[in-house]
């Protein structure tokens, strides 16, 4: 489906300086039983976020009023190295989106998670390990520090210091995100070409 257009995003962020955050943590398997794409945000990071009796775990960042307070919806999640490893479940990206994030920043993303995010309109921004440390330090010093993600210029800026770094994204995906297009629209436009190609396959 087509999704929200993404151009420039300015927001405070939620810091999660943990490495190898796998998609089983982002959304545990027992929450994959829906047949519709809705309501996943409530179970985002379920087992890190809630105790067995469904009371919130006070030491988890999403339960910290500093980062989850009313009136300051944080649209950027900053994670540690190798974010989104493991299962291909797109439900992980849905949960992140449904919770309200539009961008995930890390020094390294797992491939399928990166693809899934781009396919539903979340921008994964890969920064250097050094810049990631600067972001964590800045949020540590001031939880209300803002980041600016500029997709057209492919830059991420720490507004408090003005420090900035450029990030990569392939031109096709960038165009789609800026315009809110998706791949299926593009592929359906070349139906005849695909059908001709299929006839050449030996099996």
């Amino acid at each position: 489906m087509a999704y929200d257009k993404f151009t420039i995003l300015r927001s405070t962020a939620v810091p999660m300086p943990i490495e190898n955050v796998d998609t089983d943590q982002i959304i545990p398997a027992r929450f994959l039983k829906a047949t519709e794409r809705k309501g996943f945000g409530d179970n985002l990071f379920r087992d890190w976020r809630y105790n067995n009796d469904d009371t919130p775990k006070q030491d988890f960042v999403l339960n910290n009023p500093t980062y989850s307070g009313e009136g300051s919806p944080r649209k950027i999640l900053v994670g540690g190295k190798n974010f989104g490893s493991g299962s291909s479940r797109e439900h992980a990206a849905w949960a992140i989106y449904d919770y309200g994030f539009r961008c995930v920043v890390s020094s390294f993303f797992a491939d399928i998670f990166r693809n899934n995010s781009l396919n539903i309109g979340i921008l994964p921004v890969q920064v250097s390990p050094e810049f990631l440390e600067k972001i964590f330090a800045a949020i540590d010093a001031d939880p209300n520090t803002e980041l600016e993600i500029n997709l057209p210029t492919q830059t991420i800026t720490l507004l408090v210091t003005g420090e900035s770094e450029s990030f990569n994204i392939n031109g096709y995906k960038k165009h789609n995100l800026i315009n809110g297009y998706d791949d299926i629209d593009y592929l359906l436009s070349m139906k005849g070409e695909i059908e001709t190609f299929a006839e050449t396959r030996p099996f």
């Binding site: 489906m1 300086p17 943990i18 490495e19 190898n20 796998d22 089983d24 943590q25 545990p28 398997a29 027992r30 994959l32 039983k33 829906a34 047949t35 519709e36 794409r37 087992d47 067995n52 540690g80 190295k81 190798n82 490893s85 493991g86 299962s87 291909s88 479940r89 797109e90 439900h91 990206a93 390294f108 993303f109 797992a110 491939d111 399928i112 693809n115 899934n116 396919n119 539903i120 392939n170 031109g171 096709y172 995906k173 998706d182 791949d183 299926i184 593009y186 592929l187 359906l188 070349m190 139906k191 070409e193 695909i194 059908e195 190609f197 299929a198 396959r201 030996p202 099996f203």
Partner: protein, 466 residues
């Protein structure tokens, strides 16, 4: 003479319908496997776009992630699971897709039933909304997991938009030692390069160890490629591959088969072709492995100690969090750790060879009283083989029970959940926090290590029983 190509290049390049400038390739998919968990939303997407499935005969549906492993003849008790299974059947029927639902003779785990029925062939591209689709690379296919948006894409257009990954070759020369299985080889490789060491790459496995390996073993290795971040693994098809496939029900037969063989024989990396990364390991260095942490890269030889934080590639804070979850400490020995559960099964090790290996240790011994063992074949066909080969008798005599096929405790979407705090030696692919049930603690290992744990009740070196 043309430029030398790798096996991966040959298969990839043959499937590019169109190259998009500064973008991904429009990549044609020969076979698409679907299951009940990651497909329902994709079908909803098709409906809202009012588009049909472009090539329904290229798609195969099986029920596996949610299915119970006991009493499969009864209605599925969990209403949400039942709902997903019904949605799969409804969608398959509506669009004319082959559907092997619960109770079907060919039902089983998607990555087990594809190869055993001859759907998976060398030179194919195969996708599924499941990361362990990499399994099919064992046949010289390019196979990888996709998300639900891409499942919808393949249903609608038989293509996905995919940038070509970089290429890595992992060569293991020598001979695997006594009691060392393919699972140990791949756990060893992942422990050496870390859980993210191959991210962005497609891995070709080369060298004596893989050339001499059975198809079951090659599937185990390719299956776990994703656990080091790789999109997939691939092994050149050879006589072992063709012998495995020949005569399988849905494989090409007769003249059609004979026509394909010369093409399949071209599917190997040319002399002089280059890889972005080339790694070599020595088979003699590989012992039976076991994991101690919460990602598949945190593993070591079963006779070794848990390493100190400074020597692992994960950051110290993440590593300590991992050990804390497991209830382990640096420098502890893995041998003798108590085990509560043993799980033999999954798309990694739910094949007949795995049950043969397990039975080779438990034969003449008894299940330890403190262990609950879940032995789950990957398919009905595997289940039949277990019975026909007399393995079931060995298991039963030793105090074990056989369950019915499915993904089971690998991801615990059905009733098979390891209780919080309990330790499971598992032949599956992931030891993530809560993967086998909230709070469950997973030690990944081979079927031989699992069998040794099942009869002793503690982490044991299986070589003492061989």
């Amino acid at each position: 003479m043309s430029t030398p190509k790798t096996l991966f290049d040959k298969v990839w390049d043959a499937h590019v319908v169109r190259h998009v400038d500064d973008g991904p390739d429009v990549f044609f998919i020969d076979r698409h496997f679907i299951h009940e968990v990651t497909s329902p939303v994709a079908f909803l997407g098709l409906e809202s776009r009012h588009v049909p499935v472009m090539f329904s005969q290229r798609t195969f549906a099986t029920a596996d992630h949610n299915t119970p492993t006991l009493n499969q003849h009864l209605p599925v008790a969990d209403p949400l699971s039942a709902n997903q299974l019904a949605a799969l059947e409804r969608n398959a029927t509506k669009y004319g897709i082959s559907h092997w639902g619960l109770g079907h003779i060919k039902n089983g785990i998607v990555h087990v039933v594809g190869p055993e029925n001859g759907i998976t062939l060398p030179g194919m591209t195969i996708v599924c909304g499941d990361s362990h689709t990499s399994t099919h690379g064992a046949f010289g296919a390019i196979a990888f997991g996709i998300g639900t948006s891409e499942v919808e894409m393949v249903l609608a257009t038989q293509c996905i938009m995919q940038p070509k990954p970089k290429k890595m070759r992992i060569t293991v020369n020598g001979t695997l030692g006594k009691g060392v299985l393919p699972k140990d080889a791949i756990l060893y490789i992942i422990s050496q390069i870390s859980a993210s060491g191959a991210t962005g790459y497609f891995v070709e496995y080369a060298g004596d160890v893989f050339e001499n390996m059975s198809m079951e073993g090659r599937m185990t290795v390719c299956n776990m490629s994703i656990e080091m971040g790789a999109r997939g693994g691939i092994i050149a098809p050879d006589a072992t591959t063709l012998n495995y496939l020949k005569g399988r029900e849905l494989a090409p037969q007769g003249e059609q088969w004979d026509k394909l063989v010369p093409y399949w024989q071209t599917l190997k990396t040319d002399e002089g072709a280059t890889f972005d990364v080339d790694l070599t390991f020595d088979a003699a260095a590989i012992e039976p492995q076991i994991t101690y942490g919460t990602n598949p890269g945190l593993g070591t030889g079963v006779t070794r100690q848990i390493p100190v934080a400074e020597t692992v590639k994960d950051g110290a804070a993440s590593y300590k969090k991992s050990l804390q979850y497991m209830g382990f400490s640096e420098n502890e020995s893995m041998l003798g750790k108590p085990v509560d559960f043993v799980f033999l099964g999954s798309c990694t090790n739910g094949r007949i060879e795995d049950f043969r290996a397990f039975a080779s240790i438990v034969k003449g011994r008894q299940k330890a009283d403190n262990v609950t063992a879940w032995l789950v074949p990957g398919s009905h066909i595997v289940e039949s083989q277990i019975k026909e080969e007399g393995i079931l008798d060995i298991l039963t005599t030793a105090g074990f029970e056989l369950r019915q096929p499915g993904c089971s405790a690998c991801l615990a979407m059905n009733e098979d959940k390891i209780p919080a705090g309990k330790y499971a030696v598992s032949t599956s692919n992931r030891n993530f926090e809560g993967r086998q049930g909230p709070g469950a603690r997973t030690l990944l290992a081979s079927p031989l290590v699992a069998a040794a744990a099942a009869v002793t009740g503690v982490v044991t070196d299986p070589r003492q029983f061989i």
